[in-house]
């Protein structure tokens, strides 16, 4: 099944290069297991009212090498819980990329996105056309195509269903 287009607003612009995503919840909160508690801690140092403003389907915007450092899973778990449907960034750090694609969480490498976006602009990621459209500004930018395996993993909804599809279709040995 092809990926449905992402449609949502730019809920936040992380303009820091080499952004360490652990900062989203803060290192002191990184071990919180309870998703409500984790979500309550998210974005407190960036926008304390973030949870009230964000709507399901909204997107995050990042700068170059987004996810650098030693990324953990909880920050983006919290973001998904708040309704964030994907991240569009200038580029991504590989460890972060691999981790979030395995969670079935769409990541879109799109050079130029940061300069072309204002907070709360309405955006659409069109997987077939390979472009990010800014519906507010009436502009569009091509994004870098994802590796086939990454597309398949997103389509499957993450690592485990993706592997099921592979293992289950493999000939019996």
């Amino acid at each position: 099944m092809p990926l449905p287009n992402l449609r949502g607003r730019a809920a936040f612009l992380f303009d820091e290069v080499d952004f360490d995503v652990d900062q989203i919840v803060g290192v002191k909160n990184i071990k919180i297991q309870d998703i409500e508690e984790l979500a309550a801690a998210a974005m407190q140092s960036y926008d304390p009212d973030f949870a009230a403003k964000v709507k399901p389907g909204d997107l995050l915007i990042g700068n170059r090498n987004f996810g650098y450092g030693h990324p953990h899973y909880p920050p983006m778990k919290a973001m998904r819980h708040l309704g964030i449907a994907g991240v569009i960034a200038e580029s991504f750090a590989p460890g972060y990329w691999r981790g979030e694609i395995a969670m079935g969480f769409p990541q879109v490498p799109c050079p130029g996105i940061l300069a072309a976006t204002e907070r709360w602009d309405a955006l659409e990621v069109d997987w077939t056309a390979g472009e990010v459209r800014n519906l507010t500004q009436g502009a569009s930018l091509p994004f870098e195509p994802l590796a086939q395996g990454d597309v398949e993993m997103l389509e499957a909804g993450g690592l485990v269903p993706f592997l099921h599809a592979k293992v289950d279709r493999a000939p019996a040995t």
Binding site: D18, G149, L163, V167
Partner: protein, 418 residues
Amino acid sequence: MGYTLAEKVLARASGGAPVKAGQDVEVKPDFVLAYDFPGYTDVIFKQMKEEFGIDKVAEPERYGVFIDHMVPANTPQEEELHIGTRTWCAENGVPLYERVGIGHQVASEVGYATPGAFVVHFDGHISQLGAFGTLAIGVRRHLLEAFVREYISFKVPHTTRVNLTGRLQKGVMARDVFHHVVRTLGPSSCRFQVLEFGGEGLSDISIAGRQSMCGLAMFTGAITAVCNPDQATLDRALPLARKRLDPVCSDADAEYAAVHEIDLSALEPIVVVPPSPANTADLADYVGLEVDTGYLGSCVSGRIEDLRAAAQVLKGRRIKPGFGLHVIPTSQEIMAEAAREGIIATLVEAGAFVSSSSCDYCFGRIATMSKGQRAVSTGTLNVRGRMGSPDSEIYLCNAAAVAASAIEGRIADPRDYL
């Protein structure tokens, strides 16, 4: 055009046909490694059985598991995790290495660092096996694939080559070379690529030094790093190798994404300033900054040459009263060697606190700093909260610099003591 080491390894491991960077392949890892850690091995063991109905891995000799975190266990829950790991390994016939050192180093001592092999782990610091001409990649939770399928899906990476010339000066160590790469090429310079070290200068860097350089590869964005194995490397690695494979080297006319030159003789000791591994600076610019504690160890430093360098600095001297210097050799084998050389006695007499090998000092499970404290460290990482309070700071530098700083209680230049 010729082929890179990575292309050659992946060609062989995917069936033999030549492959080029950018190609999607199905590749069979020669070895699948992991250390037991909550959320990784326990989840993988459970998913393998419950999700995929696989009771035992095929070819258990391809696997290797290490217990090196939470050693010694500090709570009954941690011991339960270890018990689960021991049970799984026994049931599956998979070799388990416990309390013998940090797995990434032990892997090289017990033959997983087979030149020409393709290795996967969930942890990216496994890249250090690249020092032996092994292509070793950290894939995070994708490691599950290597437990439920014989082959894994993989994209053949491009390679960036760094040619080294000249020789390191006194007081400058291998990890300074890596930090210099981050500094000059940038923290995203090798994203999704292999970082390959070569050039005549490499022959002056020991295998331990190469492990140090390759083990930090992720902070350039690389998915791993490699060195083409020279004769000394083969002499050490081949007798231990767990699998008979032909070692491979990049061809002279291999196609690289980029080629860079570094003159080792021009390098100075570097400090990596918190809170990011991208924040490299001249150590000299931070000399005098007060520090409370020091850590000499980790999977990337803490080898015999690091311990020798520290002993050279500390011999006949005392660390500053109140300063806590923790020295943790990377493996028990290295600990024994250091003891035989008299290094342990030198360090202890200088006031160092020397412990058996464990990963636990590196990620702040033991000896955590409180708010406002600062450490000098040869660990892997300096992000906030890595060694305790999110309001403490970690300054990464080489082993000699940690030892010199321990004497003064301030960041110090090791060249003043060598």
